[in-house]
C-alpha cells in the first residue's frame, strides 16, 4: 500500500512537472519527456560544473585568508618576543 502511494505520488509529481513545463497534452509526452529530461540533465550538469568552480574558488579564498591570518599571528608573536628580549630604553 505504501509502495503504491509512493508510486502514485511520484507519478503525480512527474505529471505536474510536465504540466508546469508546458507539456499539457499527453499526446506530446513521448516527444517532450526525453527533451525535458535532456534539458534538465544539461542544466544540472552546467550547474554542477559552476558549483564546482565556485567551491574551488571559495576554498582557495578561505585558504589564502587563513594563511594571511597565520602569517600575521607569527609576525605579532615575533614582535612580542623581540620586545621582551630587547626592551625599549627608558628615558629620564
Amino acid at each position: 500500500m505504501r509502495a503504491l502511494r509512493f508510486l502514485a505520488a511520484t507519478s503525480g509529481a512527474f505529471v505536474a512537472w510536465l504540466w508546469v513545463r508546458g507539456a499539457r497534452d499527453p499526446a506530446e509526452w513521448p516527444t517532450r519527456i526525453p527533451e525535458e529530461i535532456a534539458l534538465l540533465r544539461r542544466d544540472l550538469l552546467a550547474s554542477v560544473a559552476a558549483g564546482k568552480r565556485a567551491g574551488e574558488d571559495a576554498e582557495e579564498h578561505f585558504e589564502s585568508k587563513r594563511l594571511a591570518v597565520e602569517r600575521e599571528e607569527i609576525r605579532r608573536r615575533e614582535q612580542r618576543v623581540l620586545a621582551r628580549a630587547f626592551p625599549p630604553a627608558r628615558r629620564g
Partner: protein
C-alpha cells in the same frame, strides 16, 4: 801624618757609616718581611676556608643551573608539543571549515546557475505575441510624412524588427504571466 793617611781615615769612616746604614736597612727589611710573612700566613688561613665554602656554593649553583636547564628543556618541549597540538587542532578544524565554505559556495552557485538557466529557457520558450499589423492611414502612404508625422510613426510600427524585444516583454509583464497569456 800625610794626606794619604787622612784619606784612608775618611774612607774608613765612610765605609763604617755605609755599613751601619746597610745594617739598619736590612734590619728594617727583615721586620717588613716578617710582617709580610705573618700577613700572608693569616691571609692563607682565612682564605682557604672561604674558598672551600665558595667551591661548595659554586657546586650548588651548578647543580641548580643544571636543574633549571632541565626545566627549560622540559618547558621548550612542552611548548613545542603545545604548538604542534595547536597546529594539529587548527588543521583539523580548518579543513572541515574550508570544505564547508566551499560546499556552501558551490551549492549557492549551482542553485543560482540552475535557476538562471531555467529562467532563460522559459523566456526563450515563451514566444512574443505577434505584433498587430497596423495599416497606414489611407491619406498618408507609408514612409511619407504627414502633417504631424503620424504616417512616419505608422510606417515605423509596420516595419519589421521594430517591436519590443523578448526581454522587454518579459520585463514588462507581471511575474508569472507569459506573453502568450496576454
Amino acid at each position: 801624618m800625610d794626606w794619604g793617611n787622612v784619606l784612608d781615615g775618611a774612607l774608613a769612616f765612610f765605609l763604617v757609616i755605609v755599613g751601619v746604614g746597610i745594617g739598619y736597612v736590612c734590619l728594617r727589611l727583615g721586620g717588613v718581611l716578617g710582617r709580610t710573612s705573618t700577613s700572608v700566613r693569616e691571609l692563607t688561613d682565612e682564605v682557604v676556608p672561604i674558598l672551600t665554602r665558595a667551591q661548595t656554593t659554586v657546586d650548588g649553583i651548578n647543580l641548580e643551573l643544571s636543574r633549571v636547564d632541565e626545566i627549560m628543556v622540559s618547558a621548550v618541549n612542552a611548548t613545542k608539543g603545545a604548538e604542534s597540538a595547536v597546529g594539529t587542532i587548527q588543521k583539523t578544524v580548518s579543513a572541515p571549515a574550508r570544505k564547508a565554505s566551499g560546499l556552501a559556495a558551490a551549492l549557492k552557485e549551482a542553485a543560482a546557475t540552475f535557476r538562471a538557466r531555467r529562467q532563460a529557457e522559459r523566456v526563450e520558450v515563451e514566444e512574443p505575441p505577434p505584433m498587430p499589423a497596423v495599416e497606414p492611414p489611407t491619406g498618408f502612404p507609408a514612409g511619407q510624412a504627414g502633417v504631424n508625422g503620424t504616417a512616419d510613426a505608422a510606417g515605423q510600427a509596420v516595419a519589421p524588427n521594430r517591436g519590443p524585444s523578448q526581454s522587454q516583454i518579459a520585463w514588462a509583464l507581471p511575474k508569472g504571466q507569459s506573453a502568450e497569456e496576454e
